[in-house]
Amino acid sequence: MSHLLNSVNNVKSSTDGNINLGLSSLISSPSNDDIVGIDASGDAKKLSMGASVGTPVLSYVTQLGGWGGSPTVTEGYNVFLRGASCTIEENATLVTRHTIGSPQWLSGWTLVAGNYLMLASWAFSTAGGGDCNAQFYNQTSSSYVGPKIHFETGSFSNRLIYYTSISSNTRFEIRARDVNSVGFFDSTSMFACTIQIFKI
């Protein structure tokens, strides 16, 4: 009988016979910026926007093996990472990797305009004694940027955390600084290196 269709989700029909159904009939009291999702039963559910961690731009995880060099780390040494067989995730519209040689050693990366959070874990071999620091380097402006990290016998925070807001394409690198008779960048230390960049 027609009166059985007088309401849907408790929304009653108007005088013209239309039941003016809205999405909010499935969701109680949404707040500003809430988004609609589903719960474990498949029913509509309002969700808070919560937080975001940014758009992944570049994740570079080195792989052990294939290392055949023994470069001495000197002041301003532009460190590079093995390019072959690494685990690389990238958004090519936001980043361009700069590589050297046939194994495609990573020597730097260029980001398009935007706000970025750059994270890097790093290592140098200090088996031969000595100490040094490392820092992100803005190759476009020829300037060191962000905090430093320190290497010597012992254990020191070796995680670079740097936020940058750039208005045009900018090339970044990681360089050694304040070098004091440090050994070299060997396969073990290279294996400990990783870079993650997020667009914020």
Binding site: I19, L21, L23, N32, M49, E152, F156, R159, Y163
Partner: protein
Amino acid sequence: MSHNKITVASQSPDASGNVSIDVSNMSDVNISTPSDNQVLQYSTASSEWQNQTLSLGSGLLVLGQGDADAYSNSGASSMSGAVYLYAPSASIVNTFGATITKYLATDWVTSITLPAGNYQAMITYRVEFSSSGYFNFGLTNTAGTIEYTSRAYIGEDRTTIDNAASTSLGYFELSSDTTVIIHNDVSSGVDTVANQGNTPSEFSTLMIRKV
């Protein structure tokens, strides 16, 4: 018969009596030029669900970006208990409304008050040593009694440090506004405040993501 007049979301039944409704037919949904991966987000201003591209990057705090200043300017009286970060205003990233407290007119951050929410934190820190020793740090309440991140250890004394991590990490949930500090509770061989120079300012960073 009256059932021939009934519509739902202005959609009429077909010959079999079925009413097909798209989400865009709903009275409080306004979808304009949709694209892949958008969501419907509620606007209290228009009382509508509107299609939006998810806005990313709204929950980040970064303090300590390598700027140089002597730790003796920080107001710290010792290298234990609360330790401070150097963060000139121009270098601060604070997109979730944390309240940052500094020592007098300096840029040395002594504490941070976080709004209620869920957070992931990461801390790097460095101090100068007068002899082979160690130093730990982590994010805590102002009394140093509630740990919000793991204690990281740095120093040349690897015997004591063992294999402890040198970066402090943690996830925590706050039900109300909470003031936090970077806190040290054990150390050995750490040089004096006066002898720290620029090291804590140039090598120390706190990053907190609201998640």
